[in-house]
């Protein structure tokens, strides 16, 4: 499926960050991008909208990226959702924790369109 047919949910509490990710996604050819400001808001979106890919920040108020991931993996309907964790805490244990919670992949800030694409190829079902 072409990127333009996929709906991406970008989760970050920082507006500028969401805009940056949105811009990079657009550069890659994505057209349907939905934003949520934290895990709780993301869950709301996921309940009512068909999403093909989640790109989520880790550190957010109310519900963190990891908590969101666990919610997603625990919901029958969306448990196989491709989930890309954006992280700056290149702290090993944190990432391993996300991997154990079945994150599809992760990406370290700052990243380029090319790096993002590399990761997307790995996690979007062909």
């Amino acid at each position: 499926m072409a990127y333009k047919d996929l709906t991406v949910l970008v989760v970050d509490d920082f507006v500028t960050m969401r805009r940056i990710v949105r811009k990079i996604l657009r550069d890659l050819g994505f057209e349907n991008i939905i934003e949520a400001e934290d895990g709780l808001a993301a869950m709301e979106v996921l309940k009512g909208t068909k999403i093909d890919l989640v790109v989520s920040d880790w550190n957010m108020p109310r519900m963190t990226g990891l908590e969101l991931l666990k919610e997603v993996r625990g919901s029958e309907k969306i448990k196989d959702m491709p989930f890309l964790m954006v992280t700056a805490e290149a702290q090993k244990e944190n990432i391993v924790e996300a991997v154990k919670a079945r994150v599809s992949n992760y990406i370290v800030k700052p990243f380029t369109a090319a790096t993002l694409e590399e990761k997307l190829v790995k996690i979007i079902p062909r």
Binding site: F14, M17, T112
Partner: protein, 729 residues
């Protein structure tokens, strides 16, 4: 277990890129490990697989495909004990005994290899470095609109930090508060990375690290840490403002930021012990003190016990270096040391009451001891016991006073921030030096001196310190220095604020004062007297109204505050070399040194801080001038005479000034003579409020109980003078 192994081997992982599969695999390994009866060789393999998987996750592996093959091989060896690496989903499993020793040792070798690889690989990535944004790659994001929005959002997020930091100050253990502070730095850092804002990125990175240590409990949230975060917040705000003006985004870190970064780094490196937590002495060092252990051996054992997880005490006993009794004695001492440094919180009102009561006790004691009947008793034992009583009450007084004393440090430290803020606003470079910050002062005073200090330091930076260019031109260090020192001298605390700025310009001060009608004859004033003019209300020599100090509201306010505290302020200055303020304050507001004077039938107390001198004058020194009332000539100065008895409705013993006693006091630039009958004595008195009914009584600032148990009123000299000035208008 077979089930688990089956799942593990039958390809839950698609390949080295399949993180979800790797995650699943790690979970299965955890489960396997948690099962009872897993044999040691199995555990070794599990650990080995886990390490390789982690390196794959973290992309630290130098050859993912090869590592991937190794994982397959190892998993295969779990299921197929012959160790041929073949992956098959069938066949019965026999695990532990059949894993051949060779294969384990081979694995261990590999593990070491892997470690070496991981370490050398990771070395380049970890430590203080972080992935630096490459300019070219992010050029597409150099969008002015985005930058503008970032600045706004970042500032908004940063503004919440101060509030949260204050919350942390009162409750250092509040993880949610640390998180709330951590998050904005984290987010700002993330975006700054994308936007290639090097300084902002680096700064927020360091602070993030610091806060992360605090979050994980590795670093205690102390005042100094809070200060660092606050300063970082301000620097960050400054950098954002630069960006807003289109100046920011330097490719190199500016020296100021660099200096601060060093500070943050060294702060995290030699983290301070948390002052609020009593320092626990190490059992080892207690044992060394007791002569049981040698220093080196203690270090050895500490090292060992760290690696094998034993407690230090256990290790010492195991190694036969100390007997259990010696260790338990050391442990007891360790506990005891902590207990002695414990503290309790007390309502300050209770403390104030205690101090008042102790003051009363001292006075009551002197009343008893000075009782003439008692003094007639010539009994040696009584005299000795009285001496003992004296010593005890003096000690009680000292201790109770000391309970209310706090170091002036906190107040001083707040000035660091102020100096920085003001310097920045007025485009100066200023450093603050502090001396004697451990000097203790009554906690009630601390609050009172804060405002005057802020005012003076603000003035010093804004008016005293020259711009870096001017300083360089005058052959001075471009960075100005302000030194604040505190020292206890007798019953006073002396606070000096010195700057190495341009100094006061006596000539200009005279001109200005003349212009404003504050003085009539500039030549009459020597330089020192001219300097004092800056304390005059509405006086400011700075032609520009600056954002920082404004105009006119300044030193007169400071002087008033200091005087309200029954203190004194003096000024000295050397042109081109700097200005110094010299503040002398009582250690406590509850007790004053008073001159007891007789006026008619009553005794009154005049605070000695208000007194310049007391004297008797000759008849010739007294004269009256039409429209100016009664005057007294003291040496070369002519001062108005204020008859205290007329203000307090007393019938004086002496109506003529040359018979009575004159107290010379000053207010602003003017001196006055207060007429009293005679001096009775001098005594430290505990100030008593007169209650709300008499609070506003002009000319009276309170009451006190004298040595003989009678009550005397304390004269408010300033109040009397303003009453006099009003009446003579």
């Amino acid at each position: 277990m077979e089930n688990l192994l089956d799942r593990l081997v039958n390809g839950v992982i698609d390949g080295p890129d399949d993180l979800a599969g790797i995650g699943e695999c790690l979970n299965i390994l955890d489960e396997l490990e948690g099962q009872n009866g897993s044999a040691a060789p199995l555990l070794a393999v599990i650990e080995n697989v886990r390490l390789i998987l982690k390196s794959l996750i973290l992309e630290e592996s130098s050859d993912p495909n090869n590592d991937w093959l190794r994982v397959q091989h190892l998993l295969g060896s779990l299921e197929n004990p012959s160790g041929d690496g073949e992956i098959s989903g069938s066949g019965p499993l026999r695990i532990a005994p059949s894993v051949e020793p060779e294969s384990v040792s081979e694995n261990e070798e590999e593990e070491e290899d892997f470690f070496a690889a991981a370490v050398s690989d990771g070395g380049a990535q970890t430590g203080d470095s972080f992935p630096e944004p490459v300019e070219a790659e992010f050029a597409e994001l150099q969008d002015p609109e985005l930058l503008k929005d970032f600045v706004e959002e970042a500032k908004e997020h940063l503004s919440a930090i101060e509030m949260n930091m204050l919350g942390l100050e009162t409750n250092p253990g509040d993880t949610e508060a640390i998180n709330a502070v951590f998050r904005p730095f984290h987010s700002v850092k993330g975006v700054a990375g994308f936007l290639n804002l090097l300084e902002i990125h680096e700064l927020s990175h360091e602070v993030e690290n610091l806060l992360d240590s605090a979050r994980s409990g590795k670093l205690a949230v102390t005042d100094s840490m809070i200060d660092i975060v606050l300063v970082a917040t301000d620097i960050l705000k400054g950098l954002l403002e630069e960006l807003e003006k289109g100046q920011g985004g330097r490719k190199e870190t500016s020296p100021a930021v660099k200096g601060f970064l060093e500070k943050v780094k060294s702060f995290s490196a030699d983290r301070e012990p948390d002052a609020s937590v009593p320092v626990r002495r190490k059992v080892g060092s207690i044992l060394v003190d007791h002569g049981v252990l040698e220093d080196e051996k203690a270090a050895d054992i500490a090292e060992k016990s760290k690696s094998d997880g034993r407690r230090f005490g256990e290790a010492v006993i195991d190694e036969g270096m100390a007997s259990p009794r010696e260790v338990s004695k050391a442990l007891r001492e360790q506990r005891h040391n902590i207990e002695t440094t414990q503290s309790v919180r007390i309502d300050t009102r209770k403390l104030d009451n205690l101090v008042d009561m102790v003051g009363e006790l001292v006075i009551a004691q002197s009343m008893v001891l000075q009782n003439t009947d008692i003094q007639k008793i010539k009994d040696q034992k009584l005299q000795k016991d009285c001496g003992q009583l004296n010593r005890i009450t003096a000690e009680i007084q000292r201790i109770s006073m000391s309970m209310r004393m706090v170091p002036i440090k906190n107040t001083f430290q707040k000035m660091i921030r102020l100096v920085r803020d003001v310097s920045k606003k007025s485009h100066k470079e200023t450093q603050l030096k502090m001396n004697g910050e451990d000097t203790e002062i009554d906690r009630n005073m601390v609050e009172e001196i804060y405002e005057p200090l802020v005012h003076m330091i603000r003035n010093s930076v804004d008016h005293g310190i020259e711009s870096p260019q001017d300083r360089a031109a005058a052959d001075k260090d471009p960075t100005g220095t302000i030194t604040i020192s505190a020292e206890q001298k007798g019953g006073n605390i002396v606070i000096d604020i010195e700057d190495d700025g341009r100094g006061l310009d006596a000539h200009r001060i005279r001109e200005k004062a003349l212009e404003r009608g504050i003085i009539s004859d500039p030549d009459q004033l020597d330089d020192k007297a001219a300097y004092d003019l800056i304390f005059h209300p509405g006086f400011s020599t700075n032609d520009k109204v600056t954002e920082v100090s404004g105009r006119g509201v300044g030193m007169d306010v400071v002087k008033k505050s200091v005087e309200r505290l029954r203190g004194k302020i003096e000024i000295s200055s050397r042109p081109g070399r700097g200005t110094a303020f010299h503040m002398k304050l009582p250690l406590t507001m509850a007790i004053i040194d008073g001159m007891i004077v007789q006026i008619g039938a009553e005794r009154y107390i005049v605070p000695t801080t208000a007194l310049k001198e007391s004297l008797k004058v000759s008849r010739e020194a007294y004269f009256t001038v039409q429209g100016k009332g009664e005057l007294v000539k003291v040496r070369d100065s002519i001062m108005p005479l204020i008859r205290l008895h007329s203000y307090f409705n007393e019938e004086p013993k002496h109506r003529d000034p040359w018979d009575g006693l004159l107290l010379v006091v000053t207010e602003g630039q003017n001196s006055y003579c207060l007429l009293a009958d005679e001096i009775v004595g001098r005594q430290e008195v505990v100030i008593k409020s007169l209650g709300t009914l008499f609070e506003q009584l002009p000319g009276i600032s309170g009451g006190a109980i004298l040595g003989d148990g009678k009550i005397a009123l304390i004269i408010d000299v300033k109040g009397i003078i303003s009453l006099y000035e009003e009446n003579s208008k």
